[in-house]
């Protein structure tokens, strides 16, 4: 009670290397901002947050602030931003928000919401729950084992998602999107210049949308397929390893067909690429 109503602010300054451990009550969030270098967050079973940092810059300083609801970790840019590796062990229940500019971000073992953004750097997440949001301008994004809604924005990098259970939204510009073992009733994927490969079951009342301008779509539905599939292209072509009866064909570029009971709705669109349905 005292902790919940009292704001405790502790600023810790340590050059070159930091090793700090703070207690964390359930519900506390973690926010990290590291301009350059790496952020690594690993979930553990303790109700503590251990923060370590290393840098080759003698002037590098890490700032750690703790309040009743949040632990904030950031570079102290007294002499301008520098390269620093920040390594954190946090309770698996802790929601984390990680931000960097030229920063690689690696998260594992967190079973809570994750938000990670990097301008130039790769983002790799293993785990995450409820809402996971990953955003990179110039870097690859990888997510595995997420249980919940996964939202990815990637401008110039490849995206890989494996073993997802939950809604999936990806907006990419230039990069391939590889989606494997996806169990979801709501998938919305769009790209401008990238290929899209998906495998996973179509749930009975699910909605699946795959759209790209200048890439290929390869869709591998797992198990029994009950879906109403609409296909649209302009300069591309469609091929299917599943026998289909096409309706509404307009010069072979816009048509639909029903598989099984047709209960799921699937949109496959590629302006200028190949669309493949493989089973």
């Amino acid at each position: 009670m005292l902790f919940a109503t009292t704001v405790l602010v502790a600023a810790l300054w340590a050059p070159q290397a930091t090793d700090t451990t703070l207690p964390a009550v359930r519900g506390t969030r973690l926010a990290v901002n590291n301009f350059s270098g790496r952020i690594t967050v690993t979930g553990w079973t303790r109700n503590e947050v251990q923060i370590r940092s290393t840098s080759e810059d003698d002037e590098a300083e890490l700032r750690v602030e703790s309040s009743s609801g949040e632990i904030r970790v950031s570079q102290r840019m007294r002499n301008g931003p520098t390269d620093m590796d920040v390594t954190i062990n946090a309770p698996a229940w802790m929601a984390v928000s990680l931000q960097g500019t030229e920063t690689d971000i690696v998260v594992s073992g967190i079973a809570a919401p994750i938000k990670a953004q990097s301008v130039s750097g790769d983002i790799t997440v293993s785990g995450g729950a409820d809402n996971v949001s990953l955003n990179s301008v110039d870097g690859d994004v990888r997510a595995e084992g997420t249980r919940g809604t996964l939202d990815i924005q990637a401008v110039d990098g490849d995206v890989s998602v494996r073993d997802l259970t939950g809604a999936l939204t990806i907006q990419g510009v230039d990069g391939d999107l590889r989606l494997e073992s996806i169990t979801s009733s709501a998938v919305r994927v769009s790209s401008v210049d990238g290929d899209v490969a998906f495998d996973g079951p179509f749930s009975a009342s699910g909605s699946y949308s795959f759209k790209t301008h200048d890439g290929d779509l390869t869709i591998r539905p797992a198990g029994t397929v009950n879906a109403t599939v609409s296909v649209s292209t302009w300069n591309g072509e469609f091929e299917s390893s599943i026998p289909v009866t096409i309706t509404g064909s307009q010069e072979g570029k816009r048509f639909s067909f029903t598989l099984g009971t047709g209960s799921a709705r699937v949109e496959l669109e590629s302006f200028d690429g190949q669309i493949r349905l493989v089973h």
């Binding site: 110039d156 210049d193 669109e269």
Partner: protein, 225 residues
């Protein structure tokens, strides 16, 4: 602001949905103000579509402008352009425009709520000669709104450009170029097949992607300040 029904509103208005789908959509409309507004706008646009040239009626634009945060008076008169091209507006284009307008409404809210740049400097984005000629694409109201949103975002981005790493700027510009190329290809295709619902939807989606990338870039510039 989009859901599984957004892309099917035009089919609903055209009476192309099956009985079950129509019932489901009407149930959805009772619960979704955004789709209800879009359908209402589409109905009004359809009513005027027979006489629509390059500009929606003033009262319609006022409503759209209010939703996207633009000033009604800021609408550029298209009289000068009318003699150059007259484009038939199809139902799919109207539907795609409605989807885009909903998206732009979100974008306008984002613009209004984002913190001001530390050093706001208005830099007019140079446009190639003749760039304002109305191209094949969505109805004029949507195109105007889109152009206004892009211009505003580009202005904000230009103000914050110096705060971004040159490498990041290069990546952003390269990818904005990719999206512009995709938009141009979609326009060319739509010119060849104006009634193609897929092309209209694809064009609107690609325009949305440009808005989203510009928003992202502007956010980065703000964060770097």
């Amino acid at each position: 602001m989009t859901d599984r029904w957004t892309d099917r509103l035009s089919e609903y208005l055209d009476g192309d949905l099956s009985g079950d789908e129509r019932i489901a959509l009407e149930a959805h409309l009772r619960e979704c103000p955004a789709c209800r507004t879009t359908v209402d706008d589409l109905r009004r646009v359809m009513t005027r579509a027979h006489t629509l040239v390059d500009r929606p009626a003033g009262d319609l634009w006022a409503g759209i402008a209010a939703r996207i945060g633009a000033e009604a008076g800021s609408v550029v008169s298209l009289d000068a352009y009318r003699t150059r091209r007259r484009i038939a507006v199809t139902m799919p284009q109207l539907a795609a425009a409605a989807v885009l307008l909903v998206s732009l409404s979100t974008g306008a809210t984002w613009l209004a709520l984002r913190p001001p740049a530390a050093t706001p400097v208005a830099i007019q984005t140079p446009r190639p000669a003749g760039a304002q000629v109305i191209q094949a694409g969505l109805p004029a109201a949507a195109e105007q709104s889109y152009e206004a949103a892009v211009t505003e975002l580009e202005r904000a981005l230009e103000a914050g450009r110096s705060r971004l790493d040159p490498k990041t700027v290069t990546v952003l510009e390269r990818n904005l170029g990719r999206i512009d190329a995709a938009i141009a290809e979609a326009r060319t295709a739509l010119e060849a097949d104006p009634a193609n619902a897929y092309l209209s939807s694809h064009l609107a989606n690609t325009m949305q992607q440009k808005i989203a990338l510009l928003q992202q870039a502007t956010t980065l510039a703000d964060a770097a300040s």
